[in-house]
């Protein structure tokens, strides 16, 4: 395992300390229990948007705390859901009196831990709404299973709901908006290489030099299919087709096209994928009204890419464009 770390067991803690030292104007870091929160929290009268999940997906979530996005983020160990006390304490810290929105990715661990925190808070009279993001089309959707994983749409939901909260939307309205974003967003990812959880010390899976994994999860969970490495255009087609036909996205739709690096894939490759995605969408009469290209929801150093499409209306466009100032996403201020 080759990483710039000290001890595996200190990775999350030291990284959070670094984040706090780097961005004192934006965020504060609480270490016991672990959460990152807006330096100016609580913002009176504003719905507080909180998310969290395993670490190793940075900038998501801790890098999205700040103005116009998250009020707090609760990082678990690498790829492990955070514990209820983290969400409970974070919520107490950032509660501005207008209620708390939990944005939860659909993993049984995340669901259960956020649920326990919500129960604790509700017991104390705090208004809490939880919205579960489950946008990964790689996973068969079924009433009889855990359902789809939450992936790329989470980033977009955090931005859009953060902007809505900043504008004074009520808790019910922010939660409804979050559900709309989840309903309108679809994703799928793939990996060229695995990643190594520091505490585990060896790669989560293995891929031969000429293989790739289609439909990979953001924790290195095996995907839909392992197959021979294909060209960027072919990979993009595979991912885009699966995503487009799932909603389905149709001619005349306006979308946000999000091309995301799993961590190790550099910009030069991301833009080759973006190029093809843009061409595919145009050829189908789907208009790319907004885009996001970069590393936003990662799996440590894994090489690979994910594609997320989000259908847009005027409300979503306006909220997407609203100013945001976080370590990981910033514009307008």
């Amino acid at each position: 395992m080759k990483k710039l770390i000290n001890k595996p067991e200190n990775v999350v803690k030291e990284s959070l300390e670094g984040l706090g030292l780097a961005w004192p104007e934006l965020i504060k870091v609480n270490l016991e229990p672990r959460y990152v929160y807006r330096a100016d929290a609580p913002v009176k009268g504003k719905v507080a948007v909180i998310s969290g999940g395993g670490s190793g997906h940075e900038p998501m979530h801790v890098g999205f705390v700040g103005v116009g996005m998250l009020d707090a983020a609760c990082p678990g160990e690498v790829f492990t859901s955070p514990t209820p006390d983290q969400m409970y304490e974070a919520a107490k810290k950032v509660d501005g009196g207008a209620g708390i929105l939990f944005i939860v990715k659909n993993y049984s661990g995340d669901i259960m831990n956020f649920e326990m925190a919500a129960d604790m808070l509700k017991g104390e009279g705090v208004k809490v709404e939880s919205v579960v993001i489950n946008d990964d089309v790689a996973v068969e959707n079924s009433l009889y299973t855990q359902g789809r994983r939450g992936v790329g749409t989470t980033v977009l939901a955090e931005k859009i709901c953060g902007a809505a909260a900043e504008r004074g939307y009520s808790l019910e309205k922010v939660a409804a908006l979050c559900r709309k974003v989840n309903d309108w967003g679809r994703s799928m990812g793939m990996a060229l290489t695995p990643c190594t959880v520091p505490a585990a010390g060896k790669p989560t899976f293995e891929l031969a030099e000429d293989e790739m994994e289609i439909g990979i999860g953001i924790h290195g969970e095996p995907g839909r299919q392992r197959m021979k490495l294909k060209s960027a255009d072919e990979v993009t087609e595979m991912l885009a087709e699966a995503v487009i036909e799932d909603l389905p996205f149709k001619a005349g739709d306006e979308v946000l096209a999000f091309v995301n690096s799993m961590g190790g894939t550099p910009d030069i490759e991301l833009y080759i994928v973006y190029r093809k995605l843009h061409q595919i969408l145009e050829s189908k009469g789907i208009k790319v009204a907004r885009k996001l290209v970069g590393r936003y929801i990662t799996s440590l150093e894994m090489q690979g890419v994910s594609i997320t499409l989000l259908k847009l209306d005027d409300e979503l466009k306006e909220l997407w464009d609203a100013p945001v100032k976080t370590p990981g996403l910033r514009w307008g201020i």
């Binding site: 395993g54 661990g109 855990q146």
Partner: protein
């Protein structure tokens, strides 16, 4: 033969040891169908239990198990944290104020623990989870209990049933937890959570065997 508070503490110590020894094994099982952290998670949780025992070890068994629940919930994370945390919490309720427990009370506590797991995780048998080790173990427990067997015999049967339960998860297709994302590809792999549940039964048996009960 009654189970004393000292036995409960020994069980926790033995469980912590077993989970430490099987840390890499559990993690490896989880890497095949999950995210390669189950052993790390369980080891972290029981290390936390060990660290928090000192302040509660003079209280009643219910309080000790409640402290274990808090330790697990606040340190394990993932799916296993809330599930085992809830299990200990439900068991603690049954054993509230007890300084000693009978095999019958142990059975009631374990039943309650399983109820907690199912209330939290909504899994039934056959979904390739820890329930597939615990439920058959409890059936074996009950049978032997009713037949008037010794605690050692009871736990031997429970451990054996848990072990079979673990093996039975191999051909199952997961429909709960992270492994369910794999669909058909989850078939052929042993469930890590069922395996850690088996280890917890094994820890109980080890303590009773050592005691010579």
């Amino acid at each position: 033969m009654a189970i004393t508070k000292a036995d409960v503490i020994k069980f926790l110590e033995r469980a912590a040891d077993l989970l430490r020894q099987n840390r890499d094994y559990l993690t490896q099982l989880d890497s095949a169908i999950g995210d390669a952290d189950h052993g790390i998670n369980m080891d972290r949780g029981f290390t936390k239990i060990m660290a928090s025992l000192d302040s509660v070890k003079d209280k009643d068994i219910g309080s000790i198990l409640k402290a274990c629940s808090m330790a697990l919930v606040s340190s394990v994370g993932g799916a296993a944290g809330p599930l085992y945390g809830t299990a200990f919490m439900y068991a603690a309720k049954v054993l509230d104020k007890k300084e000693e427990i009978t095999p019958e009370e142990l059975y009631q506590a374990l039943r309650s623990a399983l109820e907690g797991i199912q209330a939290r995780g909504k899994a039934v048998e056959g979904e390739k989870t820890m329930v597939d080790a615990i439920a058959p173990a409890l059936r074996a427990f009950e049978e032997k209990l009713q037949a008037g067997a010794s605690l050692k015999e009871i736990l031997q049967a429970a451990v054996q049933a848990a072990e079979e339960g673990v093996k039975n998860t191999i051909p199952m297709k997961a429909t709960k937890g992270r492994a369910s994302y794999l669909g058909e590809r989850s078939i052929g792999h042993q469930d890590p959570g069922a395996t850690s549940s088996y280890l917890l039964f094994k820890a109980m048996l080890d303590v009773v065997e050592e005691k010579g009960g």
